[in-house]
């Protein structure tokens, strides 16, 4: 029930403002966007889809930031390892 998938808005439908055409891995369907009425959703935005409704916008900046954080964790270790490799204490 908590399964929600990311999809990208391909087309807004002006005659039916409560819907948008969304693409999920090449499959295109209409999705109800009423829950995002307070935010400005537009073509190209990524949204989280759950039982035919867009639940939330996916913030690309935050996604990038999360991944950067994880990469930094990995980098810290790689740096440490490199420093160890380069060291010669005796």
């Amino acid at each position: 029930m908590c399964l929600a998938i990311p999809g990208q808005i391909m087309e807004m439908l002006p005659e039916r403002p409560h819907l948008a055409l969304v693409d999920v891995s090449g499959v295109r369907r209409s999705v109800n966007i009423m829950m995002l009425a307070d935010e400005a959703v537009k073509t190209g935005d990524w949204v989280l889809i759950h039982v035919g409704f867009a639940l939330a916008k996916i913030d690309e900046q935050e996604a990038k930031a999360s991944l950067a954080l994880l990469a930094a964790l990995g980098q810290a270790y790689a740096d440490e390892l490199k420093a160890f490799e380069d060291s010669c204490i005796e």
Partner: protein
Amino acid sequence: MRFVDEFRDPEMARVLAREIARLADPRRHYKFMEVCGGHTHTIYKHGIEDYLPPNLTLVHGPGCPVCVIPMGRVDDAVHIAAQPEVILTSFGDMMRVPGGRGSFLDATARGADIRMVYSPLDALKVARQNPDKQVVFMAIGFETTAPSTALTVLQAAQEGVKNFSIFCNHVIILPAIKAILDSPDLRLDGFIGPGHVSTVIGCRPYEFMTRDFHKPMVIAGFEPLDILQAIYMLLRQLAAGRCEVENQYTRVVPWDGNRKALQVIHEVMELRPYFEWRGLGFISHSALKVRDTFTDFDAERRFAVPGVRVTDPKACQCGEVLKGVLKPWECKVFGTACTPETPIGTCMVSSEGACAAYYNYGRFTRTRMREVVETA
């Protein structure tokens, strides 16, 4: 797939596993509860537990909205479906949940018209296409799904659809978490919070956990890296002596939640004084019902439901599994009398149930085999 694949990177997972192992104090045993069934599913499917040190255990919580529906409510729904003019519509994972008198699937074999739908909007469409029938939607799910049901009711009202109603079994996550925290059987060190429920309710509601119960809470996404990062964040808190609500799933969860979604829930539904949860008993103000202003869309008032309380079969230990007291394989009937094909309880049936997740994904790892042998 974007926003999915990047959060499944195995190299990153190894990095996180290493950091987790470094942070976990070898003199301590950590028990973190992941509340949401979706998390249980990911954990088993991706073998997350294999990335964790032996002194860190994940305990599965009651966040599976199908699993917590008591048998009596399934019987009520079957009773509605048995009326000749009714078409009952339901999400797929309810179809095989056993009631006192069988599941929805058993009822279809006896002639009831019960149809699987992906969305409550599909149910509304069935109502429009069958004006001579009464279409009832079996509404289940936590706050993730309740707004979708509410918006569908509002749309039905706006369109003047007269043959559509919902059998409302939406439940609220916070009372369940509080029941776990109040429970003497469990001693947990932290919680991994439900990511998608939180897109609706935000992060603020969980503050009582840190304030009153001193347990850290990290709201997590559903990909393997999300869960591993949440565990890392919990360990960081414990190591630093912090106790806070943190948001790991920042790409999707807003701190204040989705105001519009909360507003539509509030418009269409209100809290029941109490509701029975499988395994947790009666919890006050833990579930939703349709408001008086939308009586026409309330199946419970349109049809007389028996409302009988059915006790779970003696062999069924779903309650303890849902509270995290028992692991799936510790249940006496796991894998023997209770399998996905012949389920006794809901944990084995739902796509988010701990038993189903373990049965489908978790059984054959070497660490698991060792654990099973040791607890036997």
